[in-house]
């Protein structure tokens, strides 16, 4: 469904993403993990059209999308959320979601009705008339998800929808994301909360210093020495292995 081939993104002298290649098959939940500053959000922004890659191609459902503006990519069925949530603060929850629903519903009434349906999908049905600026962090994350969902994407790029949530809130949102996938939306997510990655995704890519360093099932990746070193520093895998051996 999504194929990223050799994508490179530079900011001046800084190589943020270097020759990244990944594939997302239809109907999967794929995770993109990696330490802070690895380039995950940059890669997302490049795929969604907010940044133009310096090299490489992005193909979505058989169509080249690198270099297209974000609104065109969204209309093709690829919608991203933002790590730093961007609710339309002056609008209510329902109006926020309706802004997304208008992409496929021309009539105001239809968009507002559709917004109520989407809100129920993410558990916001009782907050429809609340101003977005009054929401808690968890509420804003859900709203970000709902607004993206309202555009009826084929592929949803979720950028840390669980960051900043307390464990009980994470436990609530995991089944929500699984239900979205089951309704026919493929998901690529950036996540730091490993509990979520382990329970949600069938496969994951690990990005470190702009490079994809590993790919596999989450269970295999957490034992991969290259991944452990990326997170904990050079030699960490060996020391960890040694301490296990002594124990």
């Amino acid at each position: 469904m999504l194929s990223v081939q050799g994508v490179t993104k530079r900011f001046g002298g800084l190589l943020a993403v270097s020759d990244a290649t990944l594939d997302v098959a239809e109907g999967r939940i794929v995770a993109l993990i990696g330490p802070n500053g690895a380039g995950k959000t940059t890669l997302f922004a490049t795929v969604a059209g907010f940044l133009k890659p310096n090299a490489g191609t992005v193909t979505f459902r058989g169509e080249r999308i690198d270099g297209l503006p974000p609104h065109r990519i969204c209309r093709l069925g690829l919608t991203r959320t933002f790590q730093i949530v961007q609710p339309f603060a002056g609008l209510t929850v329902r109006e926020n979601i309706a802004c997304g629903a208008h992409l496929h519903h021309a009539k105001r009434r239809d968009a507002l009705d559709r917004a109520a349906v989407i809100a129920a999908q993410v558990g916001m049905e009782r907050m429809l008339d609340q101003p977005a600026q009054d929401l808690t962090v968890a509420g804003r994350k859900r709203l970000e998800l709902a607004r993206a969902l309202a555009t009826e994407p084929k592929l949803l790029l979720l950028d840390e929808v669980m960051a900043g949530l307390i464990p009980s809130e994470v436990a609530e949102i995991i089944p929500t994301i699984r239900r979205i996938r089951d309704s026919g939306v493929t998901i690529l997510l950036i996540e730091h909360v490993m509990q979520a990655v382990m329970s949600l995704s069938e496969e994951a890519y690990v990005l470190n210093q702009g490079r994809i360093i590993a790919h596999g099932t989450p269970a295999a990746l957490v034992r991969d020495p290259a991944v452990i070193e990326a997170y904990l520093g050079h030699g960490a895998a060996e020391r960890l292995h040694a301490s296990h051996a002594h124990a």
Partner: protein, 330 residues
Amino acid sequence: MGRLDPGGAVAALVLALCAVSPFVLPSDAWIGFAVNAVLISVLALAWNVTGGFAGQMSFGHAALYGTGAYVAAMLQVRLGLNPYLAAVAGVAAGAGIGAAIGALAFRYGLRGSYFALVTLAFAEVLRILASSFEITGAGSGLTLPYRPGLAQFQFPDRYAAYAFVLALCLVALAATAAVKRSRLGSNMIAVRENEEAAAAIGIDAFRVKLLAMAISGAIAGAAGVAYLQIQLFIDAPIAYGSLISVEALLGPIIGGAGTLLGPILGTVVLHIVGEVVKTGIGGAPGLNLVFYGAVLLVILRFLPNGLMGLLGGLRRPARTDAATRPAEAP
């Protein structure tokens, strides 16, 4: 949406009373004042589409207003075109100049104060051009031939003129209400709130802002045409002067930018209080501008959402209350 909230009902009632007052209490001074206030209200409604809905604060709406008036005047004076056809051309010219300014400004990504400055520059350039060339009447302006009668789009008296601008104002209000409740309006508001987030949900911000400028230009152009047909005269300072640009934005900001009735409410309140000040202190030239500035400062300081925000205050809590109030459990 759809249903009228209590604040909106109060505003609508007050405005309706103001609207009929010139017919109930006929007086020469009052009707002249009323024609002017309603005319500027139309311009304020135009500004509200770009500044209020789409969040693009123009400081040069005189460019749209003046172009509408000048095109209608030139077609009548130079080519002898039927005044109604000239009026249609004036409205189209307003939309065209709005789209042209928008295309240039938004193509280069100008936002906020940069957009405001560019629109101001366009209005000033047009003012200088209009006062320089023979075809626009240069320094002496353009005077329409006096042919009284509605067949020539000229009004027998001020009450007929007032009825016309009142109808125009209602049409403009209905048009902006229709825009606000449409997909385009939703897109404009999304762009105003956050352009990047809007792009992420498939909204073409450039196109939306361009359409906002075109719609705003058509309404502002209509206001310009109405001025021309009532006064039968136009010159560069009247059409393109910065006073027009300032009046276009003061009403909406004072009344509540982005609300439906706010632009009219703000304009009417500003004009009434301005008139009271003028009769009270005496009419030193420019004194009303000093007063407008003072009112604007007070409103921005104490009523960031304008008079409509004050009227709607009972319904929606202020930001500071919202921050301290516990959020509803999910």
